[in-house]
């Protein structure tokens, strides 16, 4: 039988205060967390600004305007202009669409493949487990950004390849969390019961075990998006991701680096955008972790 995820989450009974549902309970705790509120509000603002870029951006982000190269911030250009006279604010709004979607898609790739691998590895054990965990060890042998760098170098620097590269390099964490949860759950009564009733392995893994991973997975994926935005924009910064003239936070920062001495605003604002986006997600992630499962605290 499937244990209703509503009653038990991560194998723990939630206090049924006044008959509140767990979802409501989580929202209530989230609402109490200052870091979650600040982070959530900031993220919402950034996301809206980026989504509404076509309506909000005052200028065309790509068309050069030779009359005003490297103008400092002013009423006409709130964040100044770059060497081609393009409005930096407009480019940040448009660039955020790419930078942030790289983060989201990469985490999607990492979480989906990582969780499936982890579930299979933990559930079947034995040789399957050994093979999958060796593969994970292999991914972990490439420090930090190096794996993503090598993948982009091999496949070529395009947007989909960037997402794949950042995604693959983030897989190990998800495998570990999923595998760990399965190992702790697979001998529990509700799993045994499901097996006795005759559920297939597939049903047990995806309908009975998977819902129990939602809490740690949500936290991991949220914080993972922040990390993926940094990795993605770092690759673009190095010239191995999204190439100019397409605006993206990382490549804007790289362009600004050349003019740092005389036109600080060209690099300052794109960097600030990355930092605020990452900060808001990290704050929200911290709040989520405390609300969903305080035991996940570092």
């Amino acid at each position: 039988m499937r244990e209703p995820a509503a009653v038990r989450l991560r194998g723990r009974r939630w206090p049924a205060r006044g008959g509140r549902s767990p979802a409501r309970e989580i929202l209530r705790r989230l609402g109490r967390s200052r870091s979650a509120l600040v982070g959530g509000a900031l993220l919402l603002a950034i996301a809206l600004a980026v989504i509404l870029a076509p309506a909000l951006s005052p200028y065309n982000p790509i068309k050069a305007n030779q009359r005003s190269p490297l103008d400092p911030p002013s009423a006409a250009h709130l964040m100044g202009t770059d060497r081609f006279g393009r409005d930096i604010l407009s480019r940040i709004l448009w660039g955020g669409r790419l930078s942030m979607s790289v983060g989201v898609v990469a985490v999607g790739i990492a979480a989906c493949s990582g969780v499936v691998l982890g579930l299979v590895s933990g559930y079947y054990g034995r040789r399957t487990d050994v093979v999958i965990m060796r593969l994970v060890d292999l991914l972990l042998a490439f420090p930090g950004i190096l794996l993503a760098l090598a993948i982009v170098a091999t496949l070529g620097a395009t947007l989909p390849n960037l997402m794949i590269a950042v995604g693959i390099s983030a897989i190990p964490e998800y495998v570990r969390v999923a595998r760990g949860t399965v190992l702790s759950l697979k001998e529990r009564e509700f799993v045994l019961a499901a097996r006795v009733v005759g559920c297939s392995d597939q049903t047990i893994i995806f309908r009975h075990i998977l819902p129990n991973i939602t809490a740690p997975l949500t936290v991991l994926a949220t914080l993972g998006i922040a990390a993926a935005i940094i990795t993605g924009s770092a690759l673009s910064f190095l010239g191995l991701g999204i190439r100019p003239p397409t605006p993206e936070w990382g490549n804007m920062l790289a362009e600004g680096r050349e003019f740092l001495r005389h036109a600080w605003w060209v690099a300052f604002f794109p960097g600030l955008a990355i930092m605020l986006a990452v900060l808001s997600i990290n704050l929200l992630g911290d709040g989520l972790r405390d609300a969903l499962d305080p035991r996940l605290r570092p």
Binding site: F142, G144, I145, A150, T154, L240, L253, N282, P298
Partner: protein, 307 residues
Amino acid sequence: MLRYIIQRLLQLIPILIGISVLTFLMLHLIPGDPVLIFAGDKPMTEERAAEIRHQLGLDRPLWVQYGDYAAHAVRGDLGRGLRSQRPVLDSILEVAPGTTQLTLAALALATILGMTLGILAALARGTWLDTAAMTFAILGVSMPVFYSSLLMILLFSFTLGWLPATGQGGVARLVMPATALGMISAAVLARLVRSGMLAVLRQEYVVTARAKGLAPRVVVLRHALKNALIPTITMLGLQLGALLGGAVVTETIFSRPGVGRLAVDAILSRDFPLVQGTVLFTAVAYVLVNLLVDISYAAIDPRVRYQ
């Protein structure tokens, strides 16, 4: 202990083979003909291409080529760079000390700063000091190294003129890159040490130590810190990987010679033997350093050996 070391060394073999297979395959997964890459992307006749293919041994079965590659790699022969025509290993070893220096300096800074902040925050829980330390920590975790580097150059080199913005050599040229790189790890460690300390300070043996009237300093340093450090040491090993990866970005920004910058330059100039070599070198170095970390960890904490 010896058994543990041997066991760990044996576990290393499949990893090393895996790393070499992946770096070997890199060249063959690149879209396009490897011959063209070796010939520098110049157009050529089919006969000429076949000739080069034969010369380079690219017409042999893949596994034979891998065997050849691995046999050479084990002896330190990673091929020659396409641009420089120098042995790849020589190019790497020439700049490796720079990366080692940067990474170690960043690690030292991260450890000292991270632990100090973490301990202070835990002891002063709920005060302004705690808030300040944790604000630094969340900002540090969210600050990409390429942004903090640029801000530091802007402030300390261009505005104040205190430190040189680029190059290598001397402490003055190491301060900014090491600080930018180490700050993230310091932030991660500060958070970890704080929560580790808070957990340990609640333990009964700490309460006992306090109750029997030991000086607070002794309780904190001898009883609490020692045990709070165990997860921190594991984290240090992981942070080393982050630092090695971060060095790629830092070296590029500060125009410091190093393995990371060598790799980026190699990728940008499509010098694939050099890309292969730097990736292989860094991964092997990282795995070996991690092995050392694990062994010293097992030496400190006997429980690890019996897991």
